[in-house]
Symmetry: C3
Subunit: 203 residues, 3 copies
């Protein structure tokens, strides 16, 4: 397992945790908690693989994804009472997953020789789709549509990745830097209540 | 048409009926009723085919699926006034569809030589996705997230199928037994208000 | 770029505009507006391509789709204050998109030698899926399930396309005629409050 696969697995754990936390909070039974963790963690990568025609999709061939999500679900259920700040924990795991999947998604676009704008789109789709399904299934307002900067952070990280990729830097260093950029931007945005302006027009 | 195809068609009819009943109850027009019946009946199998890379997806090549759903929709609309217990009928058709599609989905995973845990996932996805879309489109709480045992029944049926498959039994008998197991578990669970424990933690 | 591609691009612009208008009205930030415009415009074609196994899906290879949606989003945001009748504008763009994508979707089914009923299904799916995701993401009742004639107009246009296709007419003329049929049917239906009967049965 190389660094890229390890990073992807960390993103899977982060998103699975975020899904499990939301599901526990919605009073789902253990199986429901697992299913929400599953679609949150694998939803984005599944859509990405389907869009580019990589089928069977990744997690069907690498079974360690499913076992990782089972383990993550169990651990989350066990330690749930020790999680003092649910919404902060949820935010943190969601943000780590966002940062990692933005970059792994963009990298897969680059590897597949897509146009840069398409690689950016793949990064954002991979990073945000799992959370969107999680929120639709649990009837919450999808996170990308709330006021917090979300997809915008992914967009900046993705474009930075493409730029750094042009230089002769170690690829693992680029992964770490750009993933951190996404995470830091989102944390700062939420901490200081930064958001982009909106354009509501009364009818 | 062998027994497997026949079973798959029966599952299609059951889910189409459940979709049509929900849509009629939501006061949709005939076309809307057909569309909900369509996505409920074919949604799970479509996602399964896309995940494993079987494209065009099944129902695009076997047109009898579409004609069966059209016929099922018409019949359901015609006999709607003779259905005395809507929620019980809906539950029954949904449960029959769940039982059948769990097993056909798992079998397709086995045939495609996926790891057993992936075959189980395919069974559950095939069986539950149609109902999830039906409920999202009709703005109901998705059935798999209600208190009733749903995906858990599919899980038990799927794993039983994999075990029985190891023995030298006629495959059609295994289909019937395992489908029945899913259906019976769910009926018992609902009748006796059985459900798995939940883990809600106040923040 | 032939007439078919031009038509498809016009449909993309129409649906992107409808998505942007809904998103602006929901007070999303510019990135959110773009994302809703994106999934509304490309959702139907993406699902169609996935169903028939055309992967990578169309917009990943033809980057002008993404740039067109970016431009459409910007223009819609800029001129939003000059749009006096939001709901009428929204209806108009949605209807133009519906008319165009019904026909391009059906034509792709015909080209791929699917059975006519499958080509009709592809037309309706291509035309309506983008609007359905837009409405689910923005927590509105999906347009195809409202009282207005929507999928029914697509169905009539699609079947007319298949019939005219049998005659020795210029294909571009058939595109224009059948697209117009869908648009006119829907406008008339909404203007005169025409709708199909429903079959609600009290339990």
């Amino acid at each position: 397992m190389n660094f890229f696969d390890l990073l992807d697995l960390l993103g899977t754990i982060a998103f699975a945790t975020s899904g499990a936390l939301v599901a526990i909070n919605k009073k789902l039974d253990p199986f429901g908690v697992f299913m929400v963790a599953f679609v949150t963690a694998l939803g984005g990568g599944t859509l990405r693989d389907v869009l580019i025609g990589k089928e069977p999709v990744g997690w069907m061939l690498e079974t360690y994804y499913v076992f990782t999500i089972i383990a993550t679900t169990i651990v989350t259920i066990v330690i749930r009472n020790h999680i003092k700040y649910l919404s902060k924990s949820l935010f943190l795991f969601d943000t780590i997953g966002l940062g990692i999947f933005t970059i792994t998604g963009t990298q897969i676009g680059v590897e597949s020789n897509f146009n840069p704008i398409i690689s950016i789109a793949l990064g954002i789709i991979t990073a945000s789709f799992g959370g969107v399904i999680r929120d639709i299934l649990c009837t919450q307002i999808p996170v990308i549509f709330r006021k917090e900067i979300y997809a915008t952070a992914a967009f900046i990280g993705s474009i930075t990745f493409l730029i750094l990729n042009k230089f002769d830097l170690p690829i693992n260093m680029i992964y770490v830097i750009t993933t951190s950029i996404v995470i830091v931007i989102r944390i700062i945005a939420v901490k200081f209540h930064l958001s982009l302006p909106t354009f509501y027009t009364k009818e």
